[in-house]
């Protein structure tokens, strides 16, 4: 039943192979993979990681609502930084080595230096203070810990939400050791996803200083652990380590969006645009049309032959990147393979346009130009839709303040309408990027990188696939109709 169509597919591959295009593409892909394999990932030493953790904690930032919201502690008018605690790792030792730096057990002491406010600096009166009693020294560190746990304004009461000067905060309850441990644990979890297995406050005679001994257990998620990366087998090294998941996402997003999304697809459009016109050359087409096979089957399977070309290439590239990433970075993320069907779909719409143009003109140059023009137009529509989304958010905010109905600009409405109606080429790219993010980053990393917030505006899978598939059917239908009625 499928013998004849498979023969056409095989013939397309033979054509691609013989013309050396497939071979050249595979060689280029192989060179590209060598480039990818030259990227090295060196896990940062645990001591460095904990020191970096302490340094990050020392930033003049208040972490509200368990760190969901972070506010820089600075007077925006004068640029003066408000009082804030600083943290230093003073001792470190590894209790048990792991297979990976993230999976070992470690112990370190962290010194918290806090400023004790003088009574005259404490700008709000202590409600517990009785008349005539001296004001208590207020620990800024505790205020920051309290703000971390504050979800409803009970722990820290701000007179004015806009006024973030910690000297004006007023504690409404005691800050316990458990709360301080959780503060450290949550922040450490974000940084390394290493759990705190032991927590002890050590005595110190230094005023305004607290010392804690923290013991950590093995991390369940090495993607959080910071790594230093190098390219060209160590010729260039990154100055600062980055969490592995974020690093891999950044690299693969660039690889897939640019190398995959743009280079492979555009080259494939050019290479495959010769398949149909070659078949339709006078003297060639009559040979095929005289055989007992329908013209529609002939054209559709020639089209599938082009798609097969791209499937081979993308599988080779994505599979290679997956394998190299697994070996070099220890992250085996099978989710990246969804890029293969998504990129194929992205190419499928362009190749359907190319096929229709080729059947009409029997000229590969015309097919390339028409396809690239359509791709450019679809890309612009996609970008305009993204811009219109930003525009709508701003208009919505403004309208909410004014308590009016939002009034969107005409171009924004047109961009949304066009994007909904036309092949969702740009949306496929967005979905591809999201799929890569999901497979390579942890949930917290996605949140940190902002891809979680993108999800709220992520194009729907059904709409993207459905509308694009309908357009593919339309262009192929047009090509098949023309091919069926034309005399050769």
């Amino acid at each position: 039943m499928f013998t004849k169509p498979l023969a056409i597919l095989k013939d397309s591959l033979r054509e691609a192979w013989d013309s050396k295009t497939l071979l050249v593409m595979l060689v280029l892909a192989f060179l590209f993979l060598i480039g990818v394999s030259s990227i090295g990932y060196e896990p940062a030493p645990p001591k460095d990681v904990f020191e970096r953790y302490a340094k990050d904690l020392s930033a003049p930032v208040v972490r509200l609502d368990r760190g969901k919201y972070q506010v820089t502690m600075m007077d925006r008018k004068t640029g003066t930084v408000y009082p804030h605690p600083t943290y230093t790792v003073t001792t470190f030792r590894t209790l048990k080595e792991g297979s990976h730096a993230a999976t070992g057990e470690h112990e370190f002491t962290i010194v918290v230096k806090t400023e004790e406010l003088k009574p005259e600096e404490d700008k709000l009166p202590d409600p517990k203070k009785k008349e005539g009693e001296p004001a208590e020294s207020v620990d800024i560190f505790e205020r920051y810990v309290a703000a971390f746990h504050d979800t409803d304004g009970n722990m820290v009461r701000l007179e004015d939400r806009k006024d973030i000067d910690p000297r004006k905060w007023r504690l409404t309850g005691p800050v316990t050791e458990a709360m301080i441990r959780e503060f450290f644990a949550v922040e450490l979890d974000k940084e390394t996803q290493v759990p705190i297995t032991g927590f002890e406050r050590l005595p110190t005679d230094q005023p305004g200083e607290r010392v804690y001994k923290i013991t950590t257990g093995p991390s369940a998620e090495p993607r959080i652990w910071p790594v230093k990366f190098s390219i060209l087998f160590g010729v260039w090294e990154s100055p600062a380590p980055l969490p592995l998941g974020i690093l891999l996402y950044t690299i693969q997003d660039i690889l897939i969006s640019w190398v995959g999304g743009l280079v492979i697809i555009l080259i494939a459009v050019i290479v495959t645009s010769f398949f149909i016109p070659n078949m339709l050359r006078p003297g060639s087409v009559v040979m095929l049309l005289s055989k007992p096979i329908s013209r529609t089957t002939l054209l559709l399977f020639k089209y599938l032959g082009g798609l097969f070309f791209v499937v081979i290439l993308t599988t080779f590239v994505v599979g290679g990147v997956w394998l190299i990433t697994g070996i070099r970075a220890g992250v085996w993320a099978p989710g990246v393979f969804i890029v293969v069907p998504l990129m194929t779909l992205s190419f499928a719409i362009l190749y359907a346009i190319s096929t229709a143009a080729a059947v009409w003109s029997r000229n590969s140059i015309v097919a390339i130009l028409v396809t690239l023009a359509c791709a450019g137009f679809l890309w612009l529509v996609g970008k305009a839709e993204v811009a219109s989304r930003v525009h709508r958010v701003l208009i919505d905010q403004e309208a909410a303040l004014k308590k009016e109905e939002p009034q969107y600009a005409g171009w924004a409405k047109a961009a949304v309408g066009l994007n909904r109606a036309l092949p969702r080429w740009h949306d496929i790219d967005v979905l591809t990027g999201n799929a890569v993010a999901e497979s390579l980053m942890t949930a917290s990393q996605q949140e940190k990188e902002g891809t979680t917030s993108i999800k709220k505006h992520l194009p729907s899978w059904g709409g993207t696939m459905g509308v694009t598939a309908l357009w593919i059917v339309f262009f192929l239908g047009l090509a098949c109709w023309r091919f069926s009625v034309k005399d050769y």
Partner: protein, 345 residues
């Protein structure tokens, strides 16, 4: 039961009427030749029969089924004129690909392809890429792909185009083999001699119409024309004027005379006169019409001017040759000699 049957078949390309009511029947086992000038509609007719071109009005059937259906095409082999095979194939892989499209099982393909390529003389090169083949080899590949699946009907459009004389002979033998195997062969060719040698029946097409059809014998039947030669010493006294007076039409050739009889007239009185004059007759053959003569005269009748152009060309050559000693190998005479030799044969 006709293998090919068309009735009042018409096809129009815009303003051009490519076929103007073609009615044709080809019987099983026949080798049928279709002659015509370029643009006469021969290739269009074949393409309609194969479903490559859609026709306007009329009827066209192959094996009593509508022409161009997939079932019918399975029983047909086709060699187009100016074919262009995908050059990334070898002859073997091309036949394997086409065989798959024709629905041939793999084992059958593996058995028949080398055998067929051996038959057309490509056995030693069958795994080389077609791009390395000469024109003749490509034509042999074309012949092979048209017949390797044992079709009941074979369409050959200029089958000997670009093939050397030995190759032509081989191709004629292959066609003859197919005919003996029971296949019907439909040949388009400009090489009238080839058609004359290969075909049982011939049709002549001009401007989309069939203007003559019949067996080769019917078309080239005797027209009462004789070529007579006398010994060299008698040539100057050949009784041209007297023969003309007797009602014969004479045309002087290099060293012979072409004598055309009037209706009902015999050659015997002319021979008697020549002998009575004491001349020695050294050569006498009855001239037959060749297919080329028929073709040119029919085309001339349908499209006046063709023969005039030919005569003008000949006259121009005569002018160029005047004033020189007559060269026995002059093209004019070589043409006549060659034609005579073919007739003698």
């Amino acid at each position: 039961m006709a293998v090919i049957e068309t009735r009042d078949l018409r096809k129009r390309y815009g303003r051009v009427e490519a076929l103007r009511g073609v009615t044709l029947k080809v019987e099983p086992g026949e080798v049928f030749g279709l002659l015509g000038q370029n643009g006469a509609g021969k290739t269009t007719l074949i393409k309609i029969l194969l479903g490559i071109v859609k026709f306007g009005d009329g009827e066209a059937t192959l094996f009593h089924h509508p022409a161009g259906t997939a079932d019918v095409r399975k029983r047909v082999g086709y060699l187009p004129e100016d074919h262009r095979f995908p050059e990334y194939h070898s002859a073997y892989s091309l036949l394997d690909y086409y065989g798959t499209l024709l629905g041939m099982p793999r084992d059958e393909r593996r058995a028949k392809i080398p055998e067929m390529l051996d038959q057309v003389g490509l056995a030693t090169r069958m795994h080389d890429k077609i791009r390395t083949y000469s024109k003749g080899m490509k034509q042999r590949t074309g012949i092979a792909q048209a017949i390797f699946h044992n079709p009941e009907l074979i369409f050959l459009d200029e089958p000997t185009d670009g093939v050397d004389p030995v190759g032509r002979k081989e191709i004629r033998e292959i066609i003859e083999d197919r005919r003996r195997a029971g296949a019907t062969v439909f040949v388009n060719s400009h090489l009238l001699g080839e058609i004359e040698m290969m075909c049982d029946r011939v049709a002549i097409m001009q401007k989309g119409e069939l203007i003559r059809e019949g067996t080769v014998q019917e078309l080239t039947k005797q027209q009462g024309v004789f070529i007579i030669g006398v010994s060299e010493r008698d040539r100057d006294v050949f009784p041209e004027a007297e023969l003309r007076q007797m009602g014969y039409t004479l045309r002087a050739l290099r060293d012979r005379w072409e004598i055309t009889l009037a209706d009902g007239q015999s050659i015997d009185p002319a021979l008697d006169l020549i002998r009575d004059k004491g001349l020695r007759v050294t050569h006498m053959v009855e001239k037959k019409q060749t297919l080329e003569d028929i073709f040119v005269s029919l085309v001339e009748a349908a499209e006046p001017g063709v023969e005039d152009r030919r005569k003008r060309r000949l006259a121009a050559r005569d002018d160029r040759g005047r004033g020189r000693d007559r060269d026995p190998y002059d093209d004019r005479y070589r043409d006549d000699d060659r034609r005579d030799r073919r007739r003698d044969h």
